[in-house]
Symmetry: C2
Subunit: 226 residues, 2 copies
């Protein structure tokens, strides 16, 4: 986080929270499950979304928002599945903020959605501070990174509802204790759900899709009750 | 980068630059080569430094500054080589700033050094904006990440003098075109030097140490001339 005065930081975060709450109310009202996916660069967010979109039935009312400092590579990769993808090039910004999501939604036929997947900028630090109106944050950690990352970058592991451990196919070739990684994540948030995924072998994709379906169902039920 | 006013951002960066220039003058005067090592979380900065410290002669006048948001794990890993290591826990901050280096130096017998290695916070975005008075920035990219990262995170590849491509031992198991990664890096900075390293097999460690020695020699010569 940039070293700005506490007062100034509060002002930015307050404004962000106000817009995030407006988005959250909108999503809840329309039965849209919004997920904010956060990881370091190269942890495999886009590949996870590729496996997700290709597994979803064509009639699924899903849209994706991707973000990068430069390039729309991720959006191009995801657009080929035929679902609407909106890309945000943040320029210098190291994270997404709620007003960017609000603007991006103007270009998406979002009232007709029931799932909105947001792929944040590749950064394990700053995106954790910015509420985007999501129902849940998902943190993605690659087995090629390091099993002590939940201790070093506590905020996102504390705030996430789900940890997706990716690239498990690399486990034989890296010094990564996957059980230790889970234990370290649970030190930040007891009860954090975990799925272990390999986008290459397909292992773990089914439990991930089940988690997604469970959350979608919960949001739909809630919207119907209200 | 946090969305702060341009004016406020300039003020912070100006103050940082002023202190960084003071540090740079100090390093130059004392013939100290200061290097600022930047990468995403888990790219292998600490492991590269482990291989470096174990290869350096005991009489080398080297010190290390490590940084993390939480934990001093990296410092503990590096301290066992017997050289002075100073750790900075940044709290919420996603990058190092020059005043933090100035304060850390008070705890190091730095006038007696000829090499100061700074391991920045694991973040491919924000640290690129903050001059620490270093002679050169080094960007570390792991082959487990993605060969398009230099296009997505251009600033650090534009500003670095050396790209260290790590974890080359994983190349058979990942979809990473190492030549494309180099080409993408050279699109940001023509002439950027590159070494390809595997800390596991030891491949590439010798060219890395040669680069380091060449830079150290240049700084010593310059200090002697002045």
């Amino acid at each position: 986080m940039h070293r700005i005065s506490k007062e100034h930081e509060h002002k930015i975060l307050n404004e962000n929270s106000r817009i995030a709450e407006r988005l959250r109310a909108h999503f809840a009202e329309h039965g849209i499950l919004c997920l904010n996916i956060i990881s370091a660069p190269g942890a495999g967010k886009t590949t996870l979304l590729e496996r997700t979109l290709e597994a979803l039935p064509r009639e699924t009312r899903v849209a994706v928002i991707t973000a990068d400092i430069q390039t729309d590579n991720d959006a191009l990769r995801l657009a080929r599945f035929g679902f609407p993808v909106k890309h945000i090039t943040t320029g210098g910004a190291c994270h997404l903020e709620a007003p960017m999501i609000e603007r991006a939604l103007e270009d998406l036929d979002h009232d007709d959605l029931d799932l909105l997947l947001i792929e944040n900028v590749g950064n394990l630090v700053c995106p954790a501070s910015y509420d985007l109106g999501e129902a849940a944050k998902i943190v993605v950690l690659s087995c090629a990174e390091g099993d002590d990352k939940p201790l070093k970058y506590p905020a996102i592991f504390f705030k996430a509802e789900l940890l997706v451990l990716t690239k498990t196919d690399l486990l034989p070739y890296v010094q990564f204790d996957i059980d230790a990684a889970e234990r370290n994540a649970h030190r930040q948030r007891k009860g954090l759900e975990v799925v272990r995924v390999s986008a290459i072998s397909g292992a773990g994709i089914a439990p991930w899709l089940q988690w997604l379906e469970r959350k979608r169902h919960a949001v739909r039920v809630e919207a119907a009750v209200d």
